[in-house]
């Protein structure tokens, strides 16, 4: 990983991007705005799955998802730029790999919800109790996204490998 990081850093694209002084702070700002869109949209659905906002049809809450996905795309893009500019900060950091792991867990959980649970869930009476399976998906999603945030923000302070 260390060698790979060194190689990425030696490429022309990495140097060129890192030399643009305003690019890093711009990406950071966008990364924070994307985070709010993602946690706002996905968290809203997660809370509904946990049984809050009773009476609100799931279909209406799911309509927020394009914004959450938009936030994710913003953060994946800016995150990729950080990675290209300063790969050693991330690739050699255990916390960063935890962050990636939680992103994968959140993604798989969302895919499972979308393919297996969403259809019957949409047919539920909005005033009914949430079935346990849906509550678990909501809890896993909420926990994972906040874990992603935690790992990202704590990355500079929790054992970086450089």
């Amino acid at each position: 990983m260390h060698d790979f990081a060194l190689w990425v850093e030696s490429t022309r694209i990495s140097k060129a991007l890192f030399d643009i002084t305003w690019l890093w702070p711009l990406c950071e700002s966008l990364h924070f705005i994307g985070l709010c869109m993602l946690i706002g949209g996905a968290g809203f659905l997660d809370l509904r799955l946990l049984g809050l906002f009773r009476g609100l049809p799931l279909r209406d809450v799911k309509a927020m998802m394009p914004w959450a996905i938009g936030g994710f795309v913003v953060n994946a893009t800016t995150g990729m730029l950080f990675l290209i500019m300063q790969p050693h900060l991330y690739l050699t950091s255990g916390v960063w790999w935890w962050k990636l792991t939680f992103i994968v867990i959140a993604g798989l959980n969302a895919a499972f919800f979308e393919t297996r649970l969403a259809e019957p869930a949409l047919a539920l009476d909005p005033n009914a109790d949430m079935p346990r399976g849906l509550k678990i998906t909501g809890a896993v999603s909420l926990f994972s996204w906040f874990a992603v945030l935690y790992c990202g923000r704590m990355l500079p302070y929790l054992g970086t490998g450089n």
């Binding site: 702070p25 709010c36 706002g40 968290g43 945030l149 929790l158």
Partner: protein, 158 residues
């Protein structure tokens, strides 16, 4: 001035910023980010619905989200005060800091106006006034300004 200098140079600041522990500065900073996600995230959901670009939930159903907005705000007011104390002398003369605090104040104020004028009334989406929509859009924009200003403080001041 000397008051803010004494805060920044206090034994508390030394301990808070100098400690090797992750439970001081890093944890407060992270809580500040979690509070932001809750506060701005919930505001996004409300305002995007007022702007009618996120589906057709009757606005009154979103009232509960204001509880999250206030919880997030409370977390960030508390953690923000601690962070301010430890950089008081620098921040009090930092224009970017005033931009951040000013945008937060107005964004919250507009959020409250949106609640009173649109969310609480429970009008059908067709009854959302242009004024409410402008307030929601402005509030969203100001939250973004606050976030950018917060990030830039780390760069624009020595």
């Amino acid at each position: 001035m000397s008051f803010f200098r004494s805060l920044q140079d206090s034994a508390f600041t030394d301990w808070f910023l100098g400690s090797e522990s992750i439970w001081t500065y890093p944890t407060v900073l992270t809580l500040h980010t979690i509070g932001m996600a809750i506060l701005v995230g919930a505001s996004f959901v409300v305002h995007l619905h007022v702007l009618q670009v996120a589906g057709g939930i009757p606005l009154q159903r979103l009232r509960q989200l204001y509880r999250f907005i206030w919880i997030g705000f409370l977390i960030n007011l508390t953690t923000g005060l601690v962070l301010f104390v430890t950089q008081a002398a620098d921040r009090i003369v930092d224009p970017v800091f005033y931009v951040k605090i000013g945008s937060i104040a107005v964004a919250l104020w507009f959020g409250v106006l949106v609640k009173r004028r649109a969310v609480d009334r429970g009008d059908a989406s067709s009854a959302i006034t242009r004024q409410s929509r402008s307030l929601a859009a402005a509030s969203l924009g100001l939250w973004m300004v606050a976030i950018v200003a917060g990030r830039l403080m780390a760069y624009l001041t020595s």
